[in-house]
């Protein structure tokens, strides 16, 4: 079960002609897919498109009713390869993932399907994880569209434009026999808005029709000589067909005044940001009225030479608002103008930053530069400046406000693995640690500071494969269960077995693809009626030939330390795998908290554990925090007026995972930690025992209290 249930939202997928859909952008895209008559959908979860996958998973019944096959693909490569179904048959299909990382993984299959060309519309929905909040390297999906020749749609970020572009995308794909990428920026994926819906469409040609009547066409296979023909087709047939479709369907839009000396060319996805910046400068209103001519590229690849030339020909200068680098659009537009011998001055990355997200403020500054240079009268009277604090105040704040990096959740089972590693490093010296993608990557941040590199999803172990030589200090690689099934099984474990690696892999088996939203995977322990789960990792790696493997419950820090130490020091040669298992606490609490509360309400006996720190034995050294980093383990003023340093303190978010107690044992820290078991609906036995104990304990305590009273300083 995923982190978020969309059981309620799924109902909006049934909306019909003329109804109003209200909700998140990525759900609107899902609805648009159904309205477009898709036959199959696949993809791999990851922000910002996880919700699309989660919704589809929750909507399986609706999909079945429409004859749609939905697959939670093993990887983006698997999803991209799914598009092969559209090569020979008039089947519409859509796949989705986080870009550019997912597109990297998928690019092998994408290149092939782009070469073959498609008969049914093939849409690739990429969630562009760029700018604030992004967790990946900053690159553009644009390059993939260009290299494999797929068309790239970048619609204006409102639900009507986005959903319209989904439908147009399929048509464009079919008209030009080319897969189409629909790029959605992270905030557009999560934007809440509304659009008018249409009826869902059942595909007339079904998957079954294709399977029962297979069509073979040698021309569509990527093999000589077809592959050479494909390349010719791309430029001679598919490109012109696409250009014609884009022009005749007016996929790009013109806004603002039509006669002016200075214009703006903008990526569709940045249109709202541009308009806000113009409004702040007093050059537009909030309905989009403006005198400035704007050419809005809802299709950023390919460009229409004549549209570009036509827009520029009567202008002295234009500004291109294009996010990310390299500046592909700017280069292409310059080429077009040069060929047409149009001397319009082109601005873009000279006035806007080459790198980084184009926020309202950034675009505002760029526009100001542009107009100040070319039309100073335009903004002189109306422009208000965006706001910023005086420099000295700003500096004071920067010095005061600490970063707040992401970290392991309260009770996270991955934290103790890194606690154990930190403690083992104290004994064995520092260890080279190769990281992977997943929550466990937070280990590189304080307080653990463990990890050297991260090469990609499932690539943790291969990221250390060079270090396979005679040495006294082995390396440790980390891989999540998500990464393991994504490709780590072969590129990591298989690779290590085959190359006789002598190092260590720790597989973090928390039962879900946790970082992407808690989706089930092959080794999930959860019951899932629609997928095959409970396929243990231990069996898989044994099958691959791993002889040294141990399974450790992550919360047992002592056992984890012993196992790590054994793996680091054993004389046994060969690859060593430690499966560190415990369920993701976020998912576990989500499942168990309601059950627990219900049991309490029903009068059943329930024991709830949580941890605490005794403030009068805590000396305020915070070693426990440096070894744990749990959000619920925090600090507060020292109640002892003599001591200056704050004491550790467990706040009420504690879920009682026990890591802090384990830490204080394993690290021989301090006796301040205690576990409190709160008993709800105690049995008669509980009550009698407790009464008797309290009688004895209280009487002994009273004696001590009396003695203390004799030496009281009179404080309350």
């Amino acid at each position: 079960m995923a982190e978020r249930s969309f059981a309620k939202e799924v109902e909006t997928l049934n909306l019909g002609l003329g109804d109003e859909f209200k909700g998140e952008g990525i759900l609107a895209v899902t609805k648009a897919l159904l309205q477009s008559g898709v036959s199959y959908v696949g993809g791999y979860q990851g922000a910002p498109i996880s919700h699309l996958m989660d919704v589809l998973a929750d909507a399986e019944d609706i999909l079945l009713g429409l004859g749609i096959h939905f697959e939670a693909s093993a990887s983006e490569a698997a999803a991209a390869a799914m598009l092969a179904a559209s090569v020979n048959y008039p089947l519409r299909g859509a796949v989705t993932w986080k870009s550019t990382v997912g597109t990297n993984v998928a690019s092998d299959a994408l290149a092939s399907v782009s070469s073959s060309g498609v008969m049914g519309g093939a849409l690739i929905i990429v969630g562009e994880d760029y700018g604030e909040g992004s967790s990946i390297m900053q690159e553009r999906s644009h390059a993939f569209a260009m290299k494999s020749q797929m068309w790239l749609l970048d619609p204006r970020p409102n639900l009507t434009s986005i959903t319209d572009m989904v439908e147009k995308g399929f048509e464009l794909s079919e008209a030009s026999s080319t897969p189409v990428m629909l790029e959605l920026r992270i905030r557009a994926c999560h934007v809440h808005g509304s659009f008018k819906t249409k009826d869902n469409v059942r595909p007339s040609f079904k998957l079954r029709d294709a399977m029962e009547n297979p069509v073979r066409d040698y021309d569509r296979v990527v093999l000589p000589p077809s592959n050479f023909v494909h390349e010719k087709e791309k430029v001679e047939q598919r490109w012109p067909a696409a250009i014609e479709f884009i022009r005749s369907h007016k996929l790009n839009e013109f806004f603002g005044g039509h006669v002016a000396q200075h214009g703006i060319i903008v990526q569709g996805g940045l249109y709202n940001t541009l308009m806000r910046a113009l409004a702040i400068l007093g050059l537009a209103d909030h309905y989009g009225e403006t005198d400035i001519p704007i050419y809005c590229l809802n299709v950023t690849y390919p460009l229409l030479s004549d549209e570009v030339a036509g827009f520029c020909i009567d202008k002295k200068s234009i500004l291109i608002v294009e996010e990310g680098q390299p500046e592909y659009l700017e280069q292409a537009i310059c080429t077009i103008l040069r060929r047409e011998d149009i001397s319009t001055k082109v601005h873009g990355k000279d006035m806007l930053p080459m790198a980084g997200e184009y926020t309202g403020q950034v675009v505002c500054e760029g526009l100001r530069k542009f107009f100040t240079q070319h039309a100073p009268d335009l903004i002189k009277t109306t422009a208000v400046s965006t706001f910023s604090l005086p420099e000295d105040s700003q500096q004071v704040l920067i010095d005061t406000v600490p970063n707040r990096p992401s970290g392991f959740c309260t009770g996270c089972p991955e934290r103790p693995i890194f606690t154990a590693m930190k403690l083992v490093q104290r004994q064995l010296g520092n260890i080279h640690v190769s990281c992977d993608i997943g929550c466990h990557l937070f280990s590189i941040l304080p307080p653990f500071n463990i990890g050297n590199t991260t090469m990609g999803y499932g690539l943790g172990w291969s990221g250390a494969s060079a270090f396979n030589t005679e040495t006294s200090q082995r390396t440790i690689s980390i891989m999540g269960d998500g990464g393991f099934w994504h490709n780590g099984l072969t590129s990591g474990v298989g690779n290590a077995v085959f190359n006789k690696n002598d190092n260590i892999l720790v597989i973090v088996d928390n039962g879900y693809s946790a970082a992407t939203g808690g989706q089930d995977i092959l080794s999930s322990r959860a019951e899932n009626s629609k997928k095959s789960t409970k396929n243990p990792i231990s069996k898989a790696i044994a099958g691959l030939g791993i002889k040294w493997q141990r399974t450790v419950v992550t919360y047992d820090i002592g056992a984890m330390m012993r196992t790590l130490t054994e793996a680091m020091t054993t004389g046994e040669k060969g690859p060593k795998v430690i499966i560190a298992e415990s369920e993701c606490m976020l998912n576990r609490e989500r499942r168990e908290k309601p059950i627990r509360n219900k049991r309490i309400a029903d009068g059943k006996r329930v024991v709830r554990s949580r941890f605490g720190v005794d403030s009068d034995t805590c000396t305020g050294d915070h070693a426990c925090i440096r070894l744990s980093g749990c959000p619920s383990l925090t600090i507060k003023d020292n109640p002892d007026p003599l001591r200056e340093d704050p004491v550790a303190y467990v706040n009420n978010d504690c879920v009682g995972c026990g890591v802090c107690g384990e830490v204080s044992h394993a690290a021989v820290l301090c006796p301040s930690f205690y576990r409190a078991d709160l008993i709800y609906n105690p049995t008669l036995r509980d009550r009698l025992f407790s009464k008797f104990r309290n009688l004895v304990i209280r009487s002994l305590q009273r004696r001590v209290d009396k003695k203390h009273a004799n030496y009281s300083f009179g404080d309350m």
Binding site: A47, D614, E644
Partner: protein, 509 residues
């Protein structure tokens, strides 16, 4: 020329930590605006940022009737622009600072912030006190925002068993920054059918506080607790304190006496005063009066902590006290009468046992391989002791009564030795460099914790004490010691400390 309309959206930015209510609050604002005829657009950046990191939720509201009159759809932005945000809501005080840095708060901004602290890992992990002061944030927020509503919304929420979003929502209603009525806000909460009662209570607290423009500090009770008459047994100590020491130092001395009487009895507290008398004499000689008796004060504080060191007797005693039992019940929020079982995480080693034994026996135990072997077997694992069960309680209770062992114990003799040489060093330093002596008195702060932590602190302390002697010639010894102390509290690997020693050219020592 196009005729530009002046219709504009209301822009709201919520700055919060992922997973701590920003999403719920946004949803309420969205539902509310929707019910009141506004076009509402909302964006956020979920994903890994959600895992406890700082994140921004952004909402724009546009009056639907204006759009209808205009016959057009408004274009709403997906990110806040500095200077263009009407309402900024920060769920915590450092996040309020972040909102200021980002420039979201300007003269026409209604700024609503909770001034409680949720410490960042960089603040928590320091060995000393890494907490940032938020006074500057408070000052700049007041200076910059059009309207600044700030109080402890977390405490308010907890007081009614609600979550901070409800108090923030109430404060938003109370601020009158949105053109909606209170009842509409409340109806929005009611319509969710989730924890409606407690959320409405939280809402009410937020609403009232915002209406009264209360600054949170006002409702903290600053009044000191009334004091009862002290017991006769300690009057001699207090009289001695009042007669022999300046009032400036009374606060810490009194706390020190309290701690030491509790630790070992009247006689031990007397010893404390004896020792302190010597320091006070040196203080007087060095013109301490003009310096508000800093040396006496600092020594009063840290001498008490040094003398009341933590041994197993002390821990066992503290763990079994009645006020401790009351405290853990309230900390874990046990209901009245609820059964709470408590287990302590103890990890006694041979060292901790030996140090409480008579000095010679203790030394023998530590040096005997046989005993070490047996103890390794006995103490290699951490122990959980249940203090709410009879076995555990009686064990700790009886260990807690063994303070009579202390006076002749190995630890006692070691501590006595260290304290005496520390005091002599302070005394000597005071004659030449007053501020150096004060810094040396404060070095005791480094010695804390148990096991390795204690050993590391002690070694840093000794290192700096060594530096003191040679630092005297530099002329700014006090500053050097202060820098080294701060560095020693920075990281446990000693990287900063080693770096500072290097920078100051004391590494050869």
């Amino acid at each position: 020329m196009a005729n530009l309309s002046t219709d504009k959206p209301i822009n709201i930015a919520i700055i919060a930590m992922g997973g701590q209510g920003g999403g719920v609050l946004s949803k309420w604002i969205l539902d509310l605006a929707d019910s009141q005829g506004y076009i509402a657009q909302y964006t956020s950046v979920p994903g890994v940022a959600q895992r406890t990191g700082a994140t921004i939720y952004y909402i724009e509201l546009f009056p639907a009737h204006l759009a209808e009159q205009a016959g057009k759809k408004p274009i709403l932005a997906l990110t806040p622009v500095p200077g263009d945000v009407d309402i900024v809501i920060a769920s915590e005080m450092i996040e309020a600072g972040r909102a200021l840095i980002r420039g979201f708060v300007s003269r026409h901004t209604n700024f609503i912030a909770s001034n409680h602290r949720d410490y960042a890992i960089s603040e928590k992990q320091e060995m000393g006190d890494g907490r940032q002061s938020v006074d500057e944030i408070q000052r700049l927020a007041e200076e910059t925002a059009g309207e600044f509503i700030c109080f402890d919304m977390d405490a308010a929420a907890r007081s009614v068993g609600s979550v901070i979003s409800s108090v923030l929502f109430g404060a938003l209603a109370g601020s009158a920054a949105l053109p909606f009525k209170r009842a509409d806000f409340e109806a929005t909460i009611a319509a969710t059918n989730k924890a409606v009662q407690s959320n409405l209570k939280g809402f009410q607290l937020g609403f009232d506080a915002a209406r009264q423009k209360q600054v949170a500090k006002a409702d903290l009770d600053d009044t000191t607790e009334p004091r009862q008459k002290h017991a006769d047994a300690v009057s001699k100590l207090l009289i001695r304190m009042e007669n022999d020491f300046p009032p400036h130092a009374h606060y810490f001395i009194r706390e020190g006496l309290k701690k030491l009487v509790d630790f070992q009895g009247i006689g031990y507290a007397d010893l404390y005063l004896d020792r302190l008398t010597r320091v006070y004499a040196a203080d007087k000689l060095s013109g301490g009066e003009s310096k508000k008796w800093q040396l006496t004060n600092e020594t009063a504080r840290y001498l008490a902590l040094a003398m009341a060191y933590d041994d197993i007797v002390r821990i066992a005693d503290l763990k079994t006290r009645s006020d401790r039992f009351d405290r853990f019940r309230s900390e874990v929020k046990a209901d009245a009468g609820q059964i709470v079982d408590v287990s302590e995480f103890m990890h006694p080693r041979l060292e901790e046992i030996a140090e409480i034994l008579p000095a010679r026996l203790g030394k023998f135990a530590l040096s005997s391989p046989a005993i070490r072997k047996v103890s390794g077997f006995l103490f290699s694992k951490g122990r959980r002791v249940s203090t709410t069960k009879l076995g555990g309680f009686l064990l700790l209770h009886s260990i807690g009564r063994m303070s009579w062992l202390r006076k002749h114990s190995l630890r006692f003799s070691r501590e006595t030795q260290r304290i005496e040489s520390w005091l002599i060093a302070i005394d000597t330093a005071a004659q030449e460099d007053y501020s150096l002596a004060v810094e040396m008195a404060g070095l005791q702060r480094l010695i804390k914790g148990y096991g390795d932590t204690h050993a590391r602190g002690l070694s840093n302390y000794s290192r700096i004490m060594d530096v003191c002697a040679s630092a005297k010639e530099t002329g700014n010894a006090a500053e050097i010691i202060a820098r080294l102390k701060a560095a020693a509290l920075k990281d446990e690997e000693g990287v900063t400390f080693a770096g500072e020693l290097n920078a100051l050219n004391f590494n050869s020592l």
